[in-house]
């Protein structure tokens, strides 16, 4: 990867999906690989099932912690509707990895609004190379449904161009000891998916 330019990763999804931890691991891995890294997100209202966005930027020197509008290189979507919502921030030749999962907003759960149909097709229409990952299924395979965020990290890791060892050490640093083994497995499954 060219060191003189900045690469922008946007993580989007729903509060409670482990997005902030995933962003933390990405930033850590990139720092270990020798990059300047910045990461930004908004806490507070983002919890309690609201929409969550985290920006990670890396390169030789990064200024703004938030990604300039329309300059996202990689969009990592933890949920379909949220991935679709933030498509406008992606570069036209950007890459997208999406967890094939629907989580209903409250207005949909209570029958006031409908969950939009055919989102994965619409995403594919704009970004034909977009990748769908079955995060939940792979997390179950790894041994714990809650590691879906780590599966997605694995899928993302192939696009960042840094050695796998940095990912492994970042996960070791950020994940509590007793769930480390499952998370390593989840990461591998995502990476080879």
């Amino acid at each position: 990867m060219n060191n003189s330019i900045v690469t922008n990763i946007l993580l989007v999804g729903v509060g409670g999906q482990g997005i902030l931890v995933a962003a933390e691991i990405i930033a850590e891995a990139l720092m270990l690989a020798g990059f300047d890294v910045k990461k930004s997100e908004v806490h507070g209202m983002a919890q309690r099932g609201g929409s969550v966005v985290s920006h990670v930027r890396y390169g030789e020197k990064v200024y703004s912690p938030i990604i300039p509008e329309g300059e996202t290189d990689i969009l990592l979507g933890f949920e379909l509707l949220e991935a679709y919502r933030y498509l406008p921030l992606l570069k036209r030749d950007g890459k997208i990895v999406v967890n094939n999962l629907k989580i209903n907003p409250l207005t949909v759960s209570i029958g006031q609004e409908a969950y939009p149909e055919g989102l994965s097709d619409r995403i594919n229409h704009f970004f034909p190379d977009g990748r769908m990952v079955d995060g939940v299924a792979l997390a179950k395979l790894a041994g714990n449904v809650k590691t879906a965020n780590t599966v997605l990290l694995g899928a993302l890791s192939r696009l960042c161009g840094i050695d796998e060892k940095f990912w492994v050490s970042a996960i070791e640093r950020m994940v509590p000891g007793k769930t480390l083994a499952v998370n390593r497995k989840a990461f591998e499954l995502g990476r080879s998916s």
């Binding site: 720092m31 209202m45 309690r48 912690p65 300039p68 907003p105 759960s109 409908a114 969950y115």
Partner: protein, 584 residues
């Protein structure tokens, strides 16, 4: 050591490295994590105060005692602490004192987006503004030095994008020798009676002049000369957006935003062709520059409302942004009350009772959102009770009955108690519902005097709200279990009817409290599809665990997600057809 730290973590680290003895604050996004990180370090007494005024007063005491002291709060918290702040400016300090104000341009989680740089000018004290986590750490250390060299409190201002962004930071060792705190009397400096304060005021004006001269020499005010056709004066997060979007422009980066180094500014202005100020919110720097007779462009091209972003700076300078447009209307995803949240049934009961609800700030403010839609006012922390008193003063008796104030435990202890005293003292017939979930939930579950623990994890007492409220003079006090819907509804209707002040206290803890034994999960509930008539009574409470299946039966049917359901059984009680039962 090299670490990735958030702005808040870096301020905490900086305070530790500066040898801070006492840190006090009140939670508030985006400032909260500063104190939550201070407790990682040894030899600092860190505490949550019941409100920001007390937090600052504790810090002032520690400073007068000779220790370095830190106070932290969100921007609106400084309004609460403003009274001691303005006179602290007169007394000055003994041990260095730094007040962190974490502002929230764009109102990511606040009720206004006031620009607290104005406080520095108003209170006549210096203010530093970091642009990333490294500067958060370095400026915190520097702020303590300035505080002691100039005998002044120093404000450190962050914004959400500084507090909650992480960047690579190099940490240092703590300073080694600071004088040991000890008691020393100096009444003419610390007793601000008119005679003493008049003398202090002239000293403060002198101090400001010295600080302005110091600003000219300060390394954190630095000019970066590049292309001379555009010169930009900027500070804080805006500096990063300027470097990102106008990489060739010359920049005067201000680390100290008050007082301004006007000489350096004039010099910079003389070297560039066109001068701009790029700053978020108010034209704070711009107006002072203009007042000194220098021509500058600022808010003509940049927005006053909201935060800046790289795209917004580009737009101001006529640079095309590459954002794509999609026109599809998508369902929004606002935050909701959690499944099992004890606030939910209270707001459903208020909705049904037709109450006029004077609200307050906390998780329960989400009771404003549909389908509960049961909040009519929300001004600031502690306002709901006073608002209720005021409204009843202008209404006829039958209308007065409708007025109900709601307030959380942390908010009541913050600034609701005095308002309740006024309500009962001046005889307002309103009803107050004290939503006691035993924690400061909204800001991420901080301990408070109702939780039984301190910030540093020590066990403490738990405020007894019923006794507290009675001792303020309230005669009608009753406790309800908000998971018992009929009882909650009955309490609300009876107390609304009573022509006297009354207080209802709810007694269920926040479902997110992690300490064992506080919140107990019940049996997840299940809808029997045979019995469900599709009447939708259960979806009216807006619980995220209840999912409406449009394509089930004739009218649709409800199902409950057993992963989310905590078994509070409020929906179970609302189902007239007894279709909801424990999941076996």
């Amino acid at each position: 050591m090299k670490e990735i730290l958030s702005g808040n973590e870096a301020v905490a680290r900086g305070a530790y490295e500066a040898g801070v003895k006492v840190a006090s604050g009140y939670p508030g996004t985006p400032s909260t994590e500063i104190l939550e990180n201070v407790i990682r370090y040894e030899n600092i007494d860190a505490s949550w105060a019941p409100n920001e005024k007390v937090a600052l007063e504790v810090a002032i005491g520690a400073s007068i005692g000779g220790g370095r002291a830190l106070a932290t709060m969100k921007h609106v918290g400084v309004n609460v602490a403003a009274d001691p702040l303005f006179t602290l400016s007169y007394t000055g300090i003994k041990g260095g004192l730094v007040l962190v104000t974490a502002d929230d341009p764009e109102l990511h989680s606040s009720q206004n987006e006031q620009d607290n740089r104005n406080y520095a000018k108003f209170a006549k004290i210096p203010m530093l503004e970091p642009s990333d986590s490294q500067e958060c750490l370095d400026f915190t250390r520097l702020a303590f030095e300035i505080s002691e060299s100039f005998d002044t409190p120093v404000m450190l201002r962050t914004t959400t994008r500084i507090s909650h962004s992480k960047s690579v930071t190099i940490t240092n060792d703590p300073v080694s020798i600071l004088p040991a705190p000890k008691l020393e009397r100096n009444a003419s400096k610390y007793v601000m009676l008119p005679g003493n304060a008049r003398v202090r005021h002239t000293i403060i004006e002198e101090r400001l002049k010295k600080l302005a001269a110091y600003a000219e020499t300060l390394e954190i005010n630095r000019s970066e000369m590049r292309d001379l056709s555009i010169g930009v004066i900027t500070s804080g997060i805006s500096y990063q957006y300027v470097r990102e979007t106008l990489p060739d422009a010359s920049v005067l980066k201000l680390g100290m935003v008050y007082p301004l180094p006007l000489k350096s500014i004039r010099e910079f202005a003389g070297r560039v062709k066109v001068l701009y100020v790029v700053e978020e919110l108010d034209p704070f720097i711009e107006e002072q520059i203009r007042a000194s007779g220098i021509t500058v462009i600022g808010k003509e091209i940049l927005p006053i409302c909201g935060e800046l972003t790289p795209g917004r700076v580009k737009k101001a300078f006529g640079i095309a942004s590459s954002e794509m447009q999609t026109s599809v209307q998508l369902p929004a995803r606002p935050p909701n009350m959690c499944p099992g949240c004890p606030h939910r049934s209270v707001f459903y009961a208020l909705h049904k009772s037709g109450a006029y609800v004077t609200g307050d700030i906390g998780c329960y403010t989400l009771g404003f959102m549909p389908p509960l839609s049961a909040m009519d006012t929300c001004i600031c922390m502690g306002a709901g009770i006073g608002n209720a008193t005021g409204i009843t003063k202008v209404l006829k008796p039958d209308e007065q009955k409708k007025v109900v104030a709601v307030i959380g435990d942390s908010t009541f202890l913050h600034s609701g108690m005095t308002a309740l005293l006024d309500m009962v003292y001046n005889n307002s017939p309103s009803t107050v519902i004290l939503l006691d979930n035993r924690i400061t939930a909204m800001t991420g579950r901080q301990e408070n005097p109702a939780s039984g623990f301190t910030l540093m994890g020590q066990e403490s007492f738990q405020v007894d709200f019923a006794e507290l409220v009675k001792s303020l003079g309230v005669r009608n006090v009753r406790k309800v279990d908000p998971y018992d819907f009929d009882d909650t509804m009955l309490a609300i209707t009876e107390e609304m009817d009573r022509p006297e002040t009354s207080v209802i206290i709810t007694n269920r803890p926040c479902v997110l409290i992690k300490r064992t034994g506080v919140f107990k999960r019940g049996t997840p509930q299940k809808v029997d599809p045979e019995t469900c008539t599709g009447c939708k009574a259960c979806v009216k409470i807006g619980c995220p665990a209840i999912i409406w299946q449009t394509d089930s039966g004739l009218k649709g049917k409800a199902v409950i997600d057993p992963q989310f359901c905590t078994g509070c059984k409020v929906c179970t009680q609302l189902c007239k057809f007894l279709a909801i039962k424990g999941n076996k």
